[in-house]
Amino acid sequence: MLHSQKHVFWQALLVTIVIFSLGILMGFILENWRTSKVDQLFKKSEIDLLDARVQNEIYTGKNFDCSLAINENIKFADRIYNEAKTLDRYETASRLSDEIYLEHKKYDILRVLLLLNSMKIKEKCNSTYHEVVYFYNFNEQDINKKAKQNVYSNQLREIKEYKGDKMLLIPIAGNINVSSINLLLDVYDIKESDLPVIVIDGKIKVMDIKKLEDLKKYFE
């Protein structure tokens, strides 16, 4: 006759715990691998920006090479804009660890630095390129605002493709509790509840959906 094998429940529980733990561990490894990839990109960008700022400091007065500084700045902005897209994809797929969120914060501070650098260059060189800061909500849960943000992103991408080097696009998350970003929001008189907001050349604030053609007019 067969004997009951109820002890298999405990064994199965142990095996389940082991498999589950392995799964979670693999998940952490996957996400950490992505984070370290983003971190590498960040470090490179951070060095480049610091390099650009130091260059600006060195080229003072009449030695300041405006066209070079502007080009470097826009190139750099384009690169971190593209890196932001990778970061965004990883953030969407991130489930276990908040490391990627910290990377995001670091990137946003880097973007503020870039903006400050750009402001300085514009002032010095009396440059005509457009400086667009796109303040949005990180990890937006409100589906209405999220849809609005997606449309803003599409519009800005289209305009960027159209304007190329004539536009510096800096997306910054406005709700990640970073003091410098909060200060910046204060400067532009934007509340967190107003987000998403597009600020063009530090003067024009776009807070509602506009036709793409109408938006393009700001860049004429």
């Binding site: 199965a12 095996v15 996400e31 589906i143 449309v151 991408r157 289209e158």
Partner: protein, 387 residues
């Protein structure tokens, strides 16, 4: 783990020298098309001590009665009980048959089911153990021509395999109607089948577990049964099973955490199954609704803004940890089903199975929670009838 440990005796069954007398009880309602074959299968089963075969006709509207009467000339041990009025459930007909049955063992056979040859010979040996109250065997799909029937064929195999595994932990929770063998005294002890329950076979098995009787599964034989060939009758059948399950949970709720495996495993297993199904469906609907509203808003804003609805940059693959988990779960399910079919000697690598098995795993099983919601509604409204 259970299978690996017991793979050498998985299909074994105890032989017996005892010659138990067996009474067959066959409830029948409108089984004119199948009852002849069912009766012939029973008499052709190869068991030496059939006491009687009792067909209980529940006022069928078709020719069930005539068919059985014509068979009585050929089989003297065949008896026909015609219920005076329609009792409305298989349980009531089974109880009517039980009153007349004289055998030491009672074989319940549905009017559209066909026990395999020597099935009783293989199942009867389990009763040498005085603790055994009921023995069941794999129920296989009789009709496997249409797509929906083939899918159920896979499901029935999976259920049979799982039931055998449950035997090793004293957790068999149903001895299904197509063929179940009971000790007569056991059925008498529990007062026969619960006529108010939509799944009297589940209820009887829980009752046996409650009273401390062992239930066994004989993989050495099988019974085939006609499965619904369309979605509507299939849905109705499953709804009846679910309502029966809910009735059982309600009836035995006070035994959660008591009465051995009934309270520690069977009832919680049923409840967790239902909860997980409903929870999963809830999450699914939440995500779906959110996505639809989100897409609607996005489309609206995009039209308003004059931007394209789809751009190439939106097409990318960055799977999350949960996506990988889903793939692992699917592959594990696939391996499980393939292993079952292989162990149960089913031809696996047929052209049909390449489509059928993924369909079973992805779409067929997803329907379960929907049926559960429908069943809960019917249960709550008290809208349940056996037929």
């Amino acid at each position: 783990m259970i299978y690996v440990r017991n793979r050498n005796n998985f299909f074994e069954y105890p032989r017996t020298n005892k010659n138990y007398s067996v009474s067959f009880v066959v409830p029948a309602y409108n089984e004119g098309k199948s009852i002849r074959e069912t009766v012939e299968h029973i008499f052709d089963i190869g068991y030496g001590n059939i006491r009687e075969v009792i067909v209980v006709n529940d006022c069928s509207k078709d020719n069930t009665q005539e068919v059985v009467e014509s068979l009585m000339k050929k089989y003297p041990k065949l008896k026909l009980i015609n219920n005076k009025k329609n009792l409305g459930s298989a349980a009531a007909s089974q109880n009517a048959g039980l009153k007349e049955a004289k055998g030491e063992l009672i074989a319940i056979v549905d009017g559209d089911s066909f026990p395999a040859k020597l099935s009783i010979n293989k199942m009867a040996g389990f009763f040498d153990d005085p603790k055994v109250g009921a023995v069941t065997c794999p129920v296989l799909a009789r009709n496997k021509n249409k797509f929906w029937e083939k899918i159920q064929g896979i499901e029935y195999q999976a259920i049979s395999f799982a039931r055998k595994l449950l035997e090793y932990v004293d957790a068999i929770y149903v001895t299904p109607g197509p063929l179940a063998l009971y000790r007569k005294t056991t059925l008498d002890e529990i007062g026969g089948f619960d006529e108010s329950n939509m799944t009297q076979d589940i209820e009887a098995t829980w009752h046996l577990a409650h009273n401390g009787w062992d239930r066994k599964m004989c993989l050495g034989t099988h019974v085939t049964s006609i499965v619904p060939n369309k979605i509507k009758p299939w849905w109705r059948q499953r709804r009846r099973w679910n309502i029966g399950g809910l009735q059982c949970i309600y009836k035995y709720r006070k035994f959660i955490g008591k009465k051995g495996m009934l309270g520690f495993f069977i009832i919680p297993f049923f409840m967790i199954n239902m909860f997980l199904g409903l929870f999963g469906l809830g999450v699914f609907f939440y995500v779906l609704t959110r996505n639809i509203i989100s897409k609607f808003l996005y489309t609206n804003y995009s039209i308003q803004a004059g931007t394209p609805l789809l751009t190439l940059s939106e097409f990318y693959i960055t799977p999350s940890f949960l996506n990988y988990l889903g793939i692992v779960l699917f592959v594990a399910g696939l391996i499980y089903i393939l292993a079952i079919l292989s162990i149960l000697k089913e031809k696996i690598m047929t052209k049909e199975n390449i489509l059928n098995i993924p369909f079973y795993l992805i779409l067929y099983l997803i329907l379960y929670p929907f049926i559960m919601i429908n069943s809960i509604y019917y249960y709550y409204k008290g809208k349940w009838v056996w037929r």
